[in-house]
Symmetry: C2
Subunit: 323 residues, 2 copies
Amino acid sequence: MSHPAALQPLVWDQRVLSLLDQTDLPQRERWVQADTVEAVVHAIRTMQVRGAPAIGIAAAAGMAIAARAASERGEAIGPALDRAAHLLRGTRPTAVNLRWAVERALHEAATAPEPAEVAGALGRLVTRLIDEQWAADRALSALGAALLPDQARVWTHCNTGALATGAYGTALGIIRAAHERGRIAMVYVDESRPRLQGARLTVWELTRLGVPHTLVPDVAAAALMASGRLDAVVVGADRVAANGDVANKIGTYALALAARHHGIPFYVAAPCSTIDLRTPTGGAIPIEERGPDEVRVIGQEAITVPDVAVWNPAFDMSRPPSW
Amino acid sequence: MSHPAALQPLVWDQRVLSLLDQTDLPQRERWVQADTVEAVVHAIRTMQVRGAPAIGIAAAAGMAIAARAASERGEAIGPALDRAAHLLRGTRPTAVNLRWAVERALHEAATAPEPAEVAGALGRLVTRLIDEQWAADRALSALGAALLPDQARVWTHCNTGALATGAYGTALGIIRAAHERGRIAMVYVDESRPRLQGARLTVWELTRLGVPHTLVPDVAAAALMASGRLDAVVVGADRVAANGDVANKIGTYALALAARHHGIPFYVAAPCSTIDLRTPTGGAIPIEERGPDEVRVIGQEAITVPDVAVWNPAFDMSRPPSW
Protein backbone atom coordinates (compact mmCIF):
# COMPACT_ATOMS: atom_id res chain seq x y z
CA MET A 1 0.00 0.00 0.00
CA SER A 2 1.49 3.34 -0.95
CA HIS A 3 1.86 5.87 1.85
CA PRO A 4 3.43 8.99 0.31
CA ALA A 5 5.61 10.61 2.95
CA ALA A 6 4.47 14.05 1.79
CA LEU A 7 1.04 13.67 3.37
CA GLN A 8 1.09 11.09 6.13
CA PRO A 9 -0.23 13.01 9.12
CA LEU A 10 -0.88 9.93 11.30
CA VAL A 11 1.86 7.38 11.99
CA TRP A 12 1.53 4.25 14.16
CA ASP A 13 4.64 2.32 15.25
CA GLN A 14 2.81 -0.25 17.45
CA ARG A 15 3.55 1.77 20.62
CA VAL A 16 3.14 5.48 19.90
CA LEU A 17 0.64 7.36 17.76
CA SER A 18 2.36 10.30 16.06
CA LEU A 19 0.00 13.03 14.89
CA LEU A 20 0.61 16.14 12.85
CA ASP A 21 -1.11 18.65 15.16
CA GLN A 22 -4.06 19.99 13.14
CA THR A 23 -4.68 22.86 15.54
CA ASP A 24 -1.32 24.37 14.56
CA LEU A 25 -1.62 24.07 10.78
CA PRO A 26 -0.88 25.74 8.46
CA GLN A 27 1.34 28.06 10.50
CA ARG A 28 3.39 25.32 12.19
CA GLU A 29 3.94 21.65 11.34
CA ARG A 30 4.21 20.32 14.88
CA TRP A 31 3.98 16.63 15.76
CA VAL A 32 2.27 15.21 18.84
CA GLN A 33 3.49 11.87 20.24
CA ALA A 34 0.55 10.19 21.98
CA ASP A 35 1.70 7.24 24.10
CA THR A 36 -1.09 7.09 26.71
CA VAL A 37 -4.86 6.76 26.41
CA GLU A 38 -5.17 10.17 28.02
CA ALA A 39 -2.95 11.73 25.36
CA VAL A 40 -5.08 10.16 22.60
CA VAL A 41 -8.28 11.35 24.30
CA HIS A 42 -6.82 14.85 24.56
CA ALA A 43 -5.76 14.82 20.90
CA ILE A 44 -9.26 13.82 19.76
CA ARG A 45 -11.11 16.21 22.05
CA THR A 46 -8.95 19.24 21.18
CA MET A 47 -9.02 18.28 17.50
CA GLN A 48 -5.26 17.82 17.16
CA VAL A 49 -6.58 14.88 15.16
CA ARG A 50 -9.99 15.21 13.51
CA GLY A 51 -12.00 13.82 10.62
CA ALA A 52 -14.29 10.83 11.15
CA PRO A 53 -11.95 8.11 9.79
CA ALA A 54 -8.83 9.56 11.44
CA ILE A 55 -10.42 9.75 14.87
CA GLY A 56 -11.53 6.14 14.41
CA ILE A 57 -7.94 5.08 13.79
CA ALA A 58 -6.72 7.23 16.67
CA ALA A 59 -9.29 5.63 18.99
CA ALA A 60 -8.12 2.15 17.98
CA ALA A 61 -4.56 3.25 18.72
CA GLY A 62 -5.73 4.45 22.12
CA MET A 63 -7.13 0.97 22.79
CA ALA A 64 -3.87 -0.68 21.68
CA ILE A 65 -1.87 1.68 23.90
CA ALA A 66 -4.14 0.87 26.87
CA ALA A 67 -3.72 -2.86 26.32
CA ARG A 68 0.05 -2.60 26.10
CA ALA A 69 0.27 -0.41 29.21
CA ALA A 70 -1.86 -2.85 31.25
CA SER A 71 0.13 -5.76 29.93
CA GLU A 72 3.48 -4.18 30.79
CA ARG A 73 2.26 -3.29 34.30
CA GLY A 74 0.94 -6.83 34.77
CA GLU A 75 -2.61 -5.52 35.18
CA ALA A 76 -5.76 -7.16 33.85
CA ILE A 77 -6.33 -6.12 30.25
CA GLY A 78 -10.15 -6.37 30.24
CA PRO A 79 -10.84 -3.58 32.75
CA ALA A 80 -8.11 -1.43 31.20
CA LEU A 81 -9.78 -1.75 27.79
CA ASP A 82 -13.22 -1.04 29.25
CA ARG A 83 -11.88 2.12 30.85
CA ALA A 84 -10.13 3.19 27.64
CA ALA A 85 -13.29 2.52 25.60
CA HIS A 86 -15.30 4.65 28.01
CA LEU A 87 -12.84 7.54 27.82
CA LEU A 88 -12.55 7.38 24.04
CA ARG A 89 -16.31 7.15 23.42
CA GLY A 90 -16.76 10.26 25.57
CA THR A 91 -14.62 12.45 23.36
CA ARG A 92 -16.84 13.23 20.38
CA PRO A 93 -20.38 11.93 19.83
CA THR A 94 -21.27 12.46 16.17
CA ALA A 95 -18.81 10.54 13.99
CA VAL A 96 -19.65 6.85 14.15
CA ASN A 97 -16.18 5.68 13.07
CA LEU A 98 -14.86 6.28 16.57
CA ARG A 99 -17.43 3.96 18.15
CA TRP A 100 -16.98 1.46 15.35
CA ALA A 101 -13.20 1.37 15.86
CA VAL A 102 -13.52 0.98 19.64
CA GLU A 103 -15.88 -1.95 19.06
CA ARG A 104 -13.52 -3.54 16.60
CA ALA A 105 -10.75 -3.26 19.19
CA LEU A 106 -12.93 -4.81 21.91
CA HIS A 107 -13.88 -7.63 19.57
CA GLU A 108 -10.25 -8.18 18.59
CA ALA A 109 -9.28 -8.34 22.27
CA ALA A 110 -12.12 -10.75 23.08
CA THR A 111 -11.07 -13.12 20.33
CA ALA A 112 -7.34 -13.11 21.09
CA PRO A 113 -6.18 -16.61 22.01
CA GLU A 114 -4.60 -15.45 25.29
CA PRO A 115 -4.19 -12.19 27.24
CA ALA A 116 -0.49 -11.87 26.44
CA GLU A 117 -1.37 -11.54 22.76
CA VAL A 118 -4.00 -8.81 23.08
CA ALA A 119 -1.66 -5.81 22.96
CA GLY A 120 0.10 -7.14 19.86
CA ALA A 121 -3.20 -7.99 18.20
CA LEU A 122 -4.58 -4.50 18.84
CA GLY A 123 -1.37 -2.94 17.57
CA ARG A 124 -1.73 -4.89 14.33
CA LEU A 125 -5.42 -3.94 14.16
CA VAL A 126 -4.44 -0.27 14.02
CA THR A 127 -2.10 -0.97 11.12
CA ARG A 128 -4.87 -2.93 9.42
CA LEU A 129 -7.35 -0.08 9.92
CA ILE A 130 -4.92 2.34 8.32
CA ASP A 131 -4.41 -0.03 5.39
CA GLU A 132 -8.16 -0.55 5.07
CA GLN A 133 -8.63 3.21 5.08
CA TRP A 134 -6.08 3.57 2.30
CA ALA A 135 -7.89 0.91 0.28
CA ALA A 136 -11.31 2.44 0.89
CA ASP A 137 -10.09 5.97 0.13
CA ARG A 138 -8.39 4.93 -3.09
CA ALA A 139 -11.40 2.94 -4.24
CA LEU A 140 -13.98 5.60 -3.49
CA SER A 141 -11.71 8.31 -4.88
CA ALA A 142 -11.37 6.51 -8.20
CA LEU A 143 -15.13 5.95 -8.37
CA GLY A 144 -15.82 9.56 -7.44
CA ALA A 145 -13.26 11.02 -9.85
CA ALA A 146 -15.04 9.25 -12.70
CA LEU A 147 -18.23 11.15 -11.82
CA LEU A 148 -16.64 14.56 -12.34
CA PRO A 149 -16.59 16.23 -15.75
CA ASP A 150 -13.30 17.02 -17.44
CA GLN A 151 -11.76 20.31 -16.27
CA ALA A 152 -14.06 20.15 -13.31
CA ARG A 153 -14.72 23.12 -11.05
CA VAL A 154 -15.50 21.62 -7.68
CA TRP A 155 -16.57 23.03 -4.31
CA THR A 156 -15.47 21.24 -1.16
CA HIS A 157 -16.27 21.83 2.49
CA CYS A 158 -14.20 21.40 5.64
CA ASN A 159 -11.28 18.98 5.32
CA THR A 160 -11.67 15.45 4.02
CA GLY A 161 -8.12 14.77 2.89
CA ALA A 162 -5.18 12.87 4.32
CA LEU A 163 -5.51 14.89 7.51
CA ALA A 164 -9.09 13.68 7.97
CA THR A 165 -8.62 9.99 7.20
CA GLY A 166 -4.95 9.28 7.91
CA ALA A 167 -4.80 7.93 4.37
CA TYR A 168 -5.63 9.32 0.90
CA GLY A 169 -8.78 11.24 1.72
CA THR A 170 -12.48 10.86 0.92
CA ALA A 171 -14.09 13.88 -0.77
CA LEU A 172 -10.66 15.46 -1.12
CA GLY A 173 -9.41 12.05 -2.27
CA ILE A 174 -11.85 12.28 -5.18
CA ILE A 175 -10.45 15.70 -6.04
CA ARG A 176 -6.90 14.38 -5.65
CA ALA A 177 -7.60 11.39 -7.91
CA ALA A 178 -9.26 13.62 -10.50
CA HIS A 179 -6.26 15.95 -10.35
CA GLU A 180 -3.87 13.02 -10.87
CA ARG A 181 -5.84 12.32 -14.07
CA GLY A 182 -5.50 15.98 -15.15
CA ARG A 183 -9.22 16.67 -14.81
CA ILE A 184 -9.41 19.44 -12.17
CA ALA A 185 -9.66 23.05 -13.35
CA MET A 186 -10.34 24.60 -9.94
CA VAL A 187 -11.16 23.56 -6.41
CA TYR A 188 -13.18 26.09 -4.45
CA VAL A 189 -12.35 25.59 -0.79
CA ASP A 190 -14.66 27.16 1.74
CA GLU A 191 -13.40 28.46 5.05
CA SER A 192 -15.59 26.12 7.13
CA ARG A 193 -16.34 28.40 10.03
CA PRO A 194 -16.01 28.26 12.92
CA ARG A 195 -12.86 26.13 13.06
CA LEU A 196 -11.77 27.04 9.54
CA GLN A 197 -10.69 23.55 8.53
CA GLY A 198 -11.06 24.55 4.88
CA ALA A 199 -8.90 27.66 5.18
CA ARG A 200 -6.39 26.06 7.54
CA LEU A 201 -6.18 22.42 6.42
CA THR A 202 -7.63 21.90 2.95
CA VAL A 203 -5.75 24.87 1.49
CA TRP A 204 -2.57 23.46 3.08
CA GLU A 205 -3.16 20.00 1.62
CA LEU A 206 -4.02 21.28 -1.86
CA THR A 207 -0.96 23.51 -1.81
CA ARG A 208 1.19 20.48 -0.94
CA LEU A 209 -0.47 18.44 -3.69
CA GLY A 210 -0.23 21.18 -6.31
CA VAL A 211 -3.97 21.21 -7.03
CA PRO A 212 -5.30 24.60 -8.26
CA HIS A 213 -7.54 26.09 -5.60
CA THR A 214 -9.29 29.26 -4.47
CA LEU A 215 -10.38 30.03 -0.92
CA VAL A 216 -13.94 31.39 -0.64
CA PRO A 217 -15.99 32.40 2.40
CA ASP A 218 -18.73 29.84 3.14
CA VAL A 219 -21.36 32.52 2.55
CA ALA A 220 -20.37 32.91 -1.12
CA ALA A 221 -21.11 29.34 -2.23
CA ALA A 222 -24.62 30.06 -3.49
CA ALA A 223 -23.40 33.11 -5.42
CA LEU A 224 -20.72 31.00 -7.13
CA MET A 225 -23.33 28.40 -8.03
CA ALA A 226 -25.59 31.10 -9.48
CA SER A 227 -22.68 32.39 -11.58
CA GLY A 228 -22.47 29.10 -13.49
CA ARG A 229 -18.86 28.52 -12.50
CA LEU A 230 -19.33 25.33 -10.50
CA ASP A 231 -19.76 21.76 -11.73
CA ALA A 232 -20.04 19.75 -8.52
CA VAL A 233 -19.91 19.79 -4.73
CA VAL A 234 -18.07 16.99 -2.94
CA VAL A 235 -18.17 16.60 0.83
CA GLY A 236 -17.41 13.89 3.37
CA ALA A 237 -19.58 12.54 6.17
CA ASP A 238 -19.28 11.96 9.89
CA ARG A 239 -22.14 9.49 9.99
CA VAL A 240 -24.63 8.20 7.44
CA ALA A 241 -27.85 6.81 8.93
CA ALA A 242 -29.57 3.71 7.57
CA ASN A 243 -32.01 5.84 5.55
CA GLY A 244 -29.21 7.81 3.88
CA ASP A 245 -29.36 10.90 6.10
CA VAL A 246 -25.91 12.46 6.27
CA ALA A 247 -24.45 14.06 9.37
CA ASN A 248 -21.50 16.17 8.32
CA LYS A 249 -19.66 19.37 9.21
CA ILE A 250 -21.96 22.28 9.92
CA GLY A 251 -22.67 24.10 6.66
CA THR A 252 -23.06 20.96 4.56
CA TYR A 253 -26.86 21.23 4.64
CA ALA A 254 -26.89 24.81 3.32
CA LEU A 255 -24.54 23.75 0.51
CA ALA A 256 -26.82 20.83 -0.32
CA LEU A 257 -29.90 23.08 -0.49
CA ALA A 258 -28.13 25.60 -2.71
CA ALA A 259 -26.70 22.87 -4.97
CA ARG A 260 -30.15 21.34 -5.39
CA HIS A 261 -31.63 24.73 -6.26
CA HIS A 262 -29.01 25.22 -8.97
CA GLY A 263 -29.10 21.64 -10.27
CA ILE A 264 -25.47 21.07 -9.34
CA PRO A 265 -24.48 17.47 -8.46
CA PHE A 266 -23.75 17.03 -4.77
CA TYR A 267 -21.63 14.03 -3.77
CA VAL A 268 -21.06 12.64 -0.28
CA ALA A 269 -17.92 10.51 -0.04
CA ALA A 270 -17.42 8.15 2.89
CA PRO A 271 -16.04 4.70 3.66
CA CYS A 272 -18.32 1.91 4.95
CA SER A 273 -17.14 2.59 8.51
CA THR A 274 -19.06 5.87 8.37
CA ILE A 275 -22.37 4.15 7.56
CA ASP A 276 -24.35 3.35 10.68
CA LEU A 277 -27.08 0.86 9.88
CA ARG A 278 -28.10 0.78 13.55
CA THR A 279 -29.24 4.39 13.42
CA PRO A 280 -32.45 4.49 11.38
CA THR A 281 -32.55 8.21 10.52
CA GLY A 282 -30.54 11.37 10.99
CA GLY A 283 -32.87 12.44 13.78
CA ALA A 284 -31.25 9.80 16.02
CA ILE A 285 -27.67 10.99 15.41
CA PRO A 286 -26.35 13.07 18.32
CA ILE A 287 -25.12 16.45 17.11
CA GLU A 288 -22.16 17.73 19.09
CA GLU A 289 -22.36 21.35 20.24
CA ARG A 290 -18.95 22.86 20.93
CA GLY A 291 -17.91 25.73 23.16
CA PRO A 292 -18.70 29.41 22.50
CA ASP A 293 -15.09 30.54 22.32
CA GLU A 294 -14.59 28.64 19.07
CA VAL A 295 -16.83 31.34 17.61
CA ARG A 296 -15.96 34.31 19.81
CA VAL A 297 -12.19 34.12 19.36
CA ILE A 298 -10.09 33.34 16.30
CA GLY A 299 -6.55 32.55 17.36
CA GLN A 300 -5.77 35.41 19.72
CA GLU A 301 -8.31 37.71 18.10
CA ALA A 302 -11.64 38.41 19.82
CA ILE A 303 -14.19 39.05 17.07
CA THR A 304 -17.22 40.00 19.11
CA VAL A 305 -18.52 41.24 22.45
CA PRO A 306 -17.09 39.08 25.27
CA ASP A 307 -19.58 36.61 26.77
CA VAL A 308 -22.08 36.93 23.94
CA ALA A 309 -24.34 33.85 23.84
CA VAL A 310 -23.34 31.49 21.03
CA TRP A 311 -24.93 28.52 19.28
CA ASN A 312 -22.15 26.37 17.89
CA PRO A 313 -23.35 23.04 16.49
CA ALA A 314 -20.44 21.11 14.94
CA PHE A 315 -22.55 19.17 12.44
CA ASP A 316 -25.81 19.31 10.53
CA MET A 317 -28.03 16.83 8.75
CA SER A 318 -28.77 16.52 5.04
CA ARG A 319 -31.28 14.15 3.48
CA PRO A 320 -30.98 12.96 -0.12
CA PRO A 321 -34.05 14.39 -1.91
CA SER A 322 -34.87 11.27 -3.92
CA TRP A 323 -34.29 8.79 -1.11
CA MET B 1 -36.89 63.81 15.40
CA SER B 2 -35.50 61.70 18.21
CA HIS B 3 -31.81 60.87 17.98
CA PRO B 4 -30.98 58.79 21.09
CA ALA B 5 -27.43 59.60 22.11
CA ALA B 6 -26.83 55.95 22.95
CA LEU B 7 -26.66 54.92 19.30
CA GLN B 8 -25.82 57.88 17.12
CA PRO B 9 -22.71 56.73 15.26
CA LEU B 10 -22.77 59.49 12.64
CA VAL B 11 -22.87 63.16 13.64
CA TRP B 12 -22.86 66.15 11.26
CA ASP B 13 -22.22 69.67 12.58
CA GLN B 14 -22.28 71.45 9.16
CA ARG B 15 -18.47 71.37 8.93
CA VAL B 16 -17.18 68.03 10.21
CA LEU B 17 -18.56 64.50 9.88
CA SER B 18 -17.91 62.56 13.09
CA LEU B 19 -18.00 58.79 12.67
CA LEU B 20 -17.82 56.01 15.21
CA ASP B 21 -15.06 53.94 13.56
CA GLN B 22 -16.73 50.64 12.63
CA THR B 23 -13.43 48.91 11.95
CA ASP B 24 -12.55 49.19 15.64
CA LEU B 25 -15.83 47.97 17.13
CA PRO B 26 -16.61 46.28 19.43
CA GLN B 27 -13.16 46.38 21.03
CA ARG B 28 -12.74 50.15 20.93
CA GLU B 29 -15.24 53.00 20.51
CA ARG B 30 -13.02 55.37 18.57
CA TRP B 31 -14.35 58.41 16.68
CA VAL B 32 -13.07 59.65 13.34
CA GLN B 33 -13.41 63.37 12.50
CA ALA B 34 -13.66 63.70 8.72
CA ASP B 35 -13.23 67.32 7.61
CA THR B 36 -11.93 66.83 4.07
CA VAL B 37 -13.31 64.98 1.05
CA GLU B 38 -10.27 62.74 1.19
CA ALA B 39 -11.02 61.78 4.80
CA VAL B 40 -14.62 60.93 3.87
CA VAL B 41 -13.44 58.88 0.88
CA HIS B 42 -10.98 57.04 3.13
CA ALA B 43 -13.67 56.37 5.74
CA ILE B 44 -16.03 54.88 3.13
CA ARG B 45 -13.38 52.84 1.36
CA THR B 46 -11.93 51.34 4.55
CA MET B 47 -15.41 50.81 5.95
CA GLN B 48 -14.97 53.03 8.98
CA VAL B 49 -18.49 53.92 7.87
CA ARG B 50 -20.51 51.28 6.03
CA GLY B 51 -24.11 50.30 5.34
CA ALA B 52 -25.86 51.57 2.23
CA PRO B 53 -27.82 54.46 3.84
CA ALA B 54 -24.90 55.56 6.05
CA ILE B 55 -22.45 55.76 3.16
CA GLY B 56 -25.03 57.79 1.26
CA ILE B 57 -25.17 60.32 4.09
CA ALA B 58 -21.38 60.29 4.42
CA ALA B 59 -21.03 60.96 0.69
CA ALA B 60 -23.40 63.93 0.93
CA ALA B 61 -21.30 65.22 3.82
CA GLY B 62 -18.22 64.84 1.63
CA MET B 63 -19.90 67.02 -1.01
CA ALA B 64 -20.82 69.66 1.59
CA ILE B 65 -17.26 69.66 2.94
CA ALA B 66 -15.89 70.09 -0.59
CA ALA B 67 -18.23 73.02 -1.28
CA ARG B 68 -17.28 74.77 1.96
CA ALA B 69 -13.55 74.24 1.37
CA ALA B 70 -13.77 75.69 -2.16
CA SER B 71 -15.87 78.55 -0.92
CA GLU B 72 -13.46 79.42 1.89
CA ARG B 73 -10.47 79.29 -0.46
CA GLY B 74 -12.31 81.48 -2.96
CA GLU B 75 -12.22 78.74 -5.58
CA ALA B 76 -14.98 77.84 -8.04
CA ILE B 77 -17.45 75.49 -6.41
CA GLY B 78 -18.60 73.64 -9.55
CA PRO B 79 -15.26 71.98 -10.36
CA ALA B 80 -14.66 71.22 -6.66
CA LEU B 81 -18.00 69.42 -6.48
CA ASP B 82 -17.33 67.52 -9.71
CA ARG B 83 -14.01 66.34 -8.33
CA ALA B 84 -15.59 65.34 -5.00
CA ALA B 85 -18.40 63.49 -6.80
CA HIS B 86 -15.85 61.59 -8.87
CA LEU B 87 -13.81 60.60 -5.79
CA LEU B 88 -16.86 59.58 -3.79
CA ARG B 89 -18.47 57.54 -6.60
CA GLY B 90 -15.20 55.63 -6.95
CA THR B 91 -15.24 54.31 -3.39
CA ARG B 92 -17.79 51.50 -3.47
CA PRO B 93 -19.84 50.44 -6.50
CA THR B 94 -22.75 48.31 -5.27
CA ALA B 95 -24.90 50.38 -2.89
CA VAL B 96 -26.96 52.82 -4.91
CA ASN B 97 -27.55 55.22 -1.99
CA LEU B 98 -24.07 56.65 -2.42
CA ARG B 99 -24.70 57.63 -6.05
CA TRP B 100 -28.17 58.84 -5.19
CA ALA B 101 -26.83 61.10 -2.40
CA VAL B 102 -24.09 62.53 -4.63
CA GLU B 103 -26.72 63.33 -7.25
CA ARG B 104 -28.95 65.00 -4.70
CA ALA B 105 -26.00 67.12 -3.62
CA LEU B 106 -25.18 68.10 -7.23
CA HIS B 107 -28.82 68.97 -7.84
CA GLU B 108 -28.96 71.02 -4.62
CA ALA B 109 -25.84 72.91 -5.68
CA ALA B 110 -27.19 73.54 -9.17
CA THR B 111 -30.41 75.00 -7.81
CA ALA B 112 -28.84 77.25 -5.18
CA PRO B 113 -29.66 80.92 -5.92
CA GLU B 114 -26.00 81.97 -5.80
CA PRO B 115 -22.56 80.34 -5.30
CA ALA B 116 -22.09 81.76 -1.80
CA GLU B 117 -25.10 79.79 -0.63
CA VAL B 118 -24.07 76.37 -1.97
CA ALA B 119 -21.97 75.26 1.02
CA GLY B 120 -24.72 76.13 3.47
CA ALA B 121 -27.36 74.47 1.32
CA LEU B 122 -25.34 71.27 1.09
CA GLY B 123 -24.71 71.31 4.83
CA ARG B 124 -28.44 71.53 5.44
CA LEU B 125 -29.03 68.77 2.87
CA VAL B 126 -26.93 66.40 4.97
CA THR B 127 -29.05 67.19 8.03
CA ARG B 128 -32.17 66.66 5.94
CA LEU B 129 -30.89 63.30 4.67
CA ILE B 130 -30.27 62.18 8.24
CA ASP B 131 -33.75 63.28 9.25
CA GLU B 132 -35.26 61.58 6.20
CA GLN B 133 -33.36 58.43 7.10
CA TRP B 134 -34.77 58.56 10.63
CA ALA B 135 -38.29 58.96 9.24
CA ALA B 136 -37.84 56.14 6.71
CA ASP B 137 -36.24 53.81 9.27
CA ARG B 138 -38.97 54.43 11.85
CA ALA B 139 -41.74 53.96 9.29
CA LEU B 140 -40.38 50.77 7.76
CA SER B 141 -39.47 49.41 11.19
CA ALA B 142 -43.01 49.85 12.47
CA LEU B 143 -44.42 48.23 9.32
CA GLY B 144 -41.93 45.38 9.56
CA ALA B 145 -42.42 44.80 13.28
CA ALA B 146 -46.12 44.24 12.63
CA LEU B 147 -45.21 41.36 10.28
CA LEU B 148 -43.40 39.40 12.98
CA PRO B 149 -45.25 36.98 15.24
CA ASP B 150 -45.34 37.55 18.97
CA GLN B 151 -42.26 36.21 20.78
CA ALA B 152 -40.53 36.12 17.43
CA ARG B 153 -37.30 34.24 16.84
CA VAL B 154 -35.59 36.14 14.06
CA TRP B 155 -32.39 35.63 12.05
CA THR B 156 -30.54 38.69 10.80
CA HIS B 157 -27.49 39.04 8.61
CA CYS B 158 -24.64 41.57 8.58
CA ASN B 159 -25.45 44.89 10.26
CA THR B 160 -28.47 46.96 9.37
CA GLY B 161 -28.83 49.00 12.54
CA ALA B 162 -27.93 52.52 13.57
CA LEU B 163 -24.37 51.88 12.44
CA ALA B 164 -25.57 51.07 8.92
CA THR B 165 -28.03 53.91 8.41
CA GLY B 166 -26.90 56.65 10.76
CA ALA B 167 -30.44 56.58 12.16
CA TYR B 168 -32.70 53.87 13.64
CA GLY B 169 -31.82 50.96 11.37
CA THR B 170 -33.63 49.02 8.64
CA ALA B 171 -33.80 45.25 9.21
CA LEU B 172 -32.35 45.74 12.67
CA GLY B 173 -34.78 48.64 13.07
CA ILE B 174 -37.62 46.17 12.59
CA ILE B 175 -36.13 43.98 15.30
CA ARG B 176 -35.61 47.03 17.51
CA ALA B 177 -39.19 48.19 17.03
CA ALA B 178 -40.54 44.70 17.72
CA HIS B 179 -38.39 44.54 20.85
CA GLU B 180 -39.76 47.92 22.01
CA ARG B 181 -43.21 46.31 21.73
CA GLY B 182 -42.03 43.29 23.78
CA ARG B 183 -42.36 40.89 20.88
CA ILE B 184 -38.81 39.54 20.38
CA ALA B 185 -37.89 36.21 21.99
CA MET B 186 -34.50 35.83 20.33
CA VAL B 187 -32.41 37.40 17.61
CA TYR B 188 -30.01 35.03 15.90
CA VAL B 189 -27.10 37.12 14.62
CA ASP B 190 -24.83 35.53 12.08
CA GLU B 191 -21.15 36.32 11.94
CA SER B 192 -21.27 37.68 8.37
CA ARG B 193 -17.93 36.51 7.14
CA PRO B 194 -15.59 37.78 5.94
CA ARG B 195 -15.80 41.15 7.70
CA LEU B 196 -17.87 39.83 10.59
CA GLN B 197 -20.28 42.76 10.74
CA GLY B 198 -22.77 40.55 12.57
CA ALA B 199 -20.31 39.41 15.22
CA ARG B 200 -18.62 42.80 15.55
CA LEU B 201 -21.40 45.33 15.02
CA THR B 202 -24.85 43.78 15.35
CA VAL B 203 -23.96 41.98 18.58
CA TRP B 204 -22.61 45.30 19.89
CA GLU B 205 -25.80 47.17 18.94
CA LEU B 206 -28.14 44.53 20.37
CA THR B 207 -26.10 44.46 23.58
CA ARG B 208 -26.48 48.24 23.85
CA LEU B 209 -30.21 47.99 23.14
CA GLY B 210 -30.80 45.10 25.55
CA VAL B 211 -32.32 42.84 22.89
CA PRO B 212 -31.83 39.09 23.56
CA HIS B 213 -29.48 37.64 20.99
CA THR B 214 -27.33 34.65 20.12
CA LEU B 215 -24.35 34.68 17.79
CA VAL B 216 -24.30 31.82 15.26
CA PRO B 217 -21.85 30.99 12.48
CA ASP B 218 -23.32 31.76 9.04
CA VAL B 219 -23.04 28.08 8.12
CA ALA B 220 -25.53 27.05 10.84
CA ALA B 221 -28.53 29.04 9.56
CA ALA B 222 -30.07 26.18 7.59
CA ALA B 223 -29.68 23.79 10.55
CA LEU B 224 -31.49 26.28 12.81
CA MET B 225 -34.27 26.58 10.24
CA ALA B 226 -34.59 22.79 10.06
CA SER B 227 -34.85 22.64 13.86
CA GLY B 228 -38.08 24.65 13.81
CA ARG B 229 -36.66 27.35 16.06
CA LEU B 230 -36.88 30.24 13.61
CA ASP B 231 -39.89 32.37 12.63
CA ALA B 232 -38.44 34.87 10.18
CA VAL B 233 -35.33 36.21 8.47
CA VAL B 234 -34.92 39.97 8.12
CA VAL B 235 -32.10 41.51 6.08
CA GLY B 236 -31.28 44.86 4.54
CA ALA B 237 -30.33 45.72 0.98
CA ASP B 238 -27.57 47.60 -0.78
CA ARG B 239 -29.54 48.02 -3.98
CA VAL B 240 -32.92 46.82 -5.19
CA ALA B 241 -33.30 46.68 -8.98
CA ALA B 242 -36.50 47.71 -10.76
CA ASN B 243 -37.61 44.06 -11.03
CA GLY B 244 -37.16 43.46 -7.30
CA ASP B 245 -33.78 41.73 -7.43
CA VAL B 246 -31.93 42.44 -4.20
CA ALA B 247 -28.18 43.05 -3.98
CA ASN B 248 -27.16 42.62 -0.37
CA LYS B 249 -24.26 41.44 1.77
CA ILE B 250 -22.73 38.19 0.57
CA GLY B 251 -24.57 35.29 2.21
CA THR B 252 -28.03 36.79 1.82
CA TYR B 253 -28.79 34.58 -1.17
CA ALA B 254 -27.96 31.34 0.67
CA LEU B 255 -30.18 32.46 3.55
CA ALA B 256 -33.00 33.22 1.12
CA LEU B 257 -32.73 29.78 -0.51
CA ALA B 258 -32.72 28.00 2.86
CA ALA B 259 -35.63 30.10 4.17
CA ARG B 260 -37.67 29.31 1.07
CA HIS B 261 -36.94 25.61 1.44
CA HIS B 262 -38.19 25.70 5.04
CA GLY B 263 -41.17 27.99 4.37
CA ILE B 264 -39.79 30.68 6.66
CA PRO B 265 -40.74 34.29 5.79
CA PHE B 266 -37.81 36.27 4.44
CA TYR B 267 -38.07 40.07 4.64
CA VAL B 268 -35.86 42.66 2.93
CA ALA B 269 -35.99 46.05 4.62
CA ALA B 270 -34.76 49.15 2.78
CA PRO B 271 -35.63 52.82 2.35
CA CYS B 272 -36.67 54.20 -1.06
CA SER B 273 -33.14 55.53 -1.60
CA THR B 274 -31.98 51.91 -1.96
CA ILE B 275 -34.41 51.20 -4.82
CA ASP B 276 -32.82 51.84 -8.20
CA LEU B 277 -35.49 52.03 -10.87
CA ARG B 278 -32.87 52.83 -13.49
CA THR B 279 -31.32 49.36 -13.10
CA PRO B 280 -33.74 46.87 -14.67
CA THR B 281 -32.48 43.64 -13.06
CA GLY B 282 -29.90 42.43 -10.59
CA GLY B 283 -27.67 41.31 -13.43
CA ALA B 284 -26.87 44.98 -14.13
CA ILE B 285 -25.80 45.76 -10.55
CA PRO B 286 -22.00 45.86 -10.18
CA ILE B 287 -20.86 43.47 -7.45
CA GLU B 288 -17.81 44.74 -5.60
CA GLU B 289 -15.01 42.23 -5.06
CA ARG B 290 -12.77 43.11 -2.15
CA GLY B 291 -9.17 42.22 -1.40
CA PRO B 292 -7.94 38.73 -0.46
CA ASP B 293 -6.55 39.71 2.92
CA GLU B 294 -10.07 40.34 4.25
CA VAL B 295 -10.37 36.55 4.07
CA ARG B 296 -6.78 35.47 4.73
CA VAL B 297 -6.28 37.48 7.91
CA ILE B 298 -8.62 38.16 10.83
CA GLY B 299 -7.28 41.04 12.89
CA GLN B 300 -3.66 40.04 13.39
CA GLU B 301 -4.39 36.34 12.88
CA ALA B 302 -3.48 34.62 9.61
CA ILE B 303 -6.01 31.82 9.10
CA THR B 304 -4.64 30.16 5.99
CA VAL B 305 -1.63 29.66 3.75
CA PRO B 306 -0.15 33.07 2.80
CA ASP B 307 -0.89 34.17 -0.76
CA VAL B 308 -3.65 31.62 -1.31
CA ALA B 309 -5.95 32.75 -4.13
CA VAL B 310 -9.22 34.14 -2.76
CA TRP B 311 -12.61 34.98 -4.22
CA ASN B 312 -14.17 37.65 -2.05
CA PRO B 313 -17.39 39.12 -3.46
CA ALA B 314 -18.91 41.63 -1.03
CA PHE B 315 -22.51 41.15 -2.19
CA ASP B 316 -24.80 38.65 -3.84
CA MET B 317 -28.14 38.77 -5.61
CA SER B 318 -31.48 37.35 -4.53
CA ARG B 319 -34.65 37.31 -6.60
CA PRO B 320 -38.10 37.17 -5.03
CA PRO B 321 -39.56 33.81 -6.13
CA SER B 322 -43.05 35.11 -6.89
CA TRP B 323 -41.98 38.30 -8.63
